[in-house]
């Protein structure tokens, strides 16, 4: 996986997110409306695309898109 593809996958899930706005360093809670449904959408996408499970705790501890990306990379290896 690479960051560009990861961001594209996130953009595809959230209608509010204009392409190109989200960056690796973006705080994902501020980039699109952050609520429990959107958390489930993100978890579902990561599970389907990368076969990695994100817990509630993972999301609480993550701030940026890069934080989540690193979690996925670590768990895939």
């Amino acid at each position: 996986m690479n960051m560009e593809e990861f961001i594209k996958n996130i953009e595809a899930e959230f209608d509010d997110l204009k392409p190109g706005v989200l960056k690796a360093d973006s705080n994902f809670r501020e980039s699109f409306e952050w609520n429990s449904i959107n958390a489930l959408i993100l978890i579902a996408m990561v599970k389907t695309e990368y076969d990695v499970t994100l817990s509630a705790d993972d999301l609480i501890k993550s701030k940026s898109v890069k934080d989540i990306y690193s979690l996925i990379v670590n768990r895939q290896s």
Binding site: I37, I41, A44, K47, T53, L54, L59
Partner: protein
């Protein structure tokens, strides 16, 4: 391992009764219009049936059973097994199934008992009935599965209130030595029991005045200790972790592939969960029916309700092989492969 096959039982019919009263999540003003739209699109619940106060699950199941037995031309005196699977029983004591035995005019030779399971209840109920019937002594049985879930959700809890709907279902089963085997894979992980629970009112936390206090738990989430609480992410991850391996193990056991299955009927948890499972199993959309848009999450009854609401035509007219998969509160989950042949499905009853 609870992986087994049961010969000699066939499903003769299924019936369901829902309350007339319909609530739409478009009118759920506790949350913003935008949140309502996201809820309806992603969680997939647009409308839900809500029972009037005083209507019990068994009331709905009895109405459904009367109609089904009439259409099947069943003599009440031949029904010798009745199982009521629910988490919303009539009384704390006695067992609801006993009361239902009498209301339906079933004989005193009838075995009647409750099973206290929720989401996974239909596959568990089928396995218990099938196990008791397979030796052929009991010829006819009724499996009632249903819940009035709306009684225990708090309006000011956005994480539960807009999800659940009420229904009572009944499945008629008959001993038939020539029937194809039913196959089951049933599992449990009680370490996750807190993910879906009502804390007070049982023996662990006896009901007290404090049980009724409604407290803020999070943004848009207020409830008492007598209301259902649901940890969405926990349940979501449990489902994505357990359901696909459970189904694959069952298929390995029977030596079948998903290509041989006509329909995969999932518990109607939420659309996002079910669509993710569908993609993980690489199933075509046509093979995975839904009832959640119209009826919400109907607990253990969601599998038979989906068969009635979305598969009536194929099930009434032909021979079908179904994979049923149900998962949730407990945590308890399981799958079953059942073959049906032109079963009786009366029109959905509105009460």
């Amino acid at each position: 391992m609870a992986l087994f096959s049961l010969p000699g039982i066939k499903i003769s019919g299924i019936s369901a009764a829902v309350p007339k009263n319909k609530e739409s999540n478009a009118d759920y003003t506790w949350i913003s219009v935008k949140e309502r739209e996201s809820l309806m699109k992603n969680i997939g619940v647009e409308t839900r049936r809500v029972a009037a106060k005083g209507t019990t699950t068994s009331d709905l199941c009895v109405i459904a059973a009367e109609k089904l037995m009439d259409e099947l031309n069943w003599d009440r005196f031949e029904v010798e097994l009745l199982i009521f699977v629910s988490q919303s029983r009539d009384y704390l004591v006695p067992t609801t199934a006993c009361i239902v035995q009498d209301r339906l005019g079933l004989p005193h030779s009838c075995v009647a008992m409750d099973i206290g399971l929720g989401c996974s209840g239909y596959v568990y109920g089928l396995s218990v009935i099938g196990s008791m019937m397979q030796q052929g002594a009991i010829k006819k049985a009724l499996l009632m599965v249903g819940d009035i879930s709306t009684l225990t959700t708090c309006y000011r809890d956005k994480s539960t209130y807009p999800l659940f709907g009420d229904v009572g279902t009944v499945t008629a089963l008959e001993f038939d030595a020539a029937a194809p085997k039913m196959h089951f894979n049933l599992q449990t992980d009680g370490s996750g029991y807190k993910a879906l629970m009502i804390k007070d009112g049982g023996a662990r936390n006896v009901m007290s005045r404090q049980s009724f206090d409604i407290k803020k738990v999070g943004k848009g989430i207020y409830r008492s200790r007598l209301h259902l609480e649901l940890d969405g992410i926990e349940v979501f991850n449990f489902t994505l972790r357990e359901v696909v391996p459970n189904i694959k193990k069952l298929l390995t056991h029977t030596g079948e592939s998903l290509a041989e299955i006509d329909f995969v009927v999932f518990h109607q948890a939420n659309r996002l969960i079910n669509e993710t499972l569908r993609k993980m199993l690489k199933l075509e959309a046509e093979k995975v029916p839904y009832s959640i848009r119209e009826f919400g999450n109907t607990s253990g009854a969601s599998v038979p309700l989906t068969m009635i609401a979305a598969l009536r035509e194929p099930l009434v007219t032909g021979r079908k092989k179904l994979l049923l998969s149900a998962f949730g509160v407990g945590l308890s989950w399981g799958s079953a492969i059942v073959e049906t042949d032109r079963i009786c499905i009366p029109d959905l009853i509105e009460v």
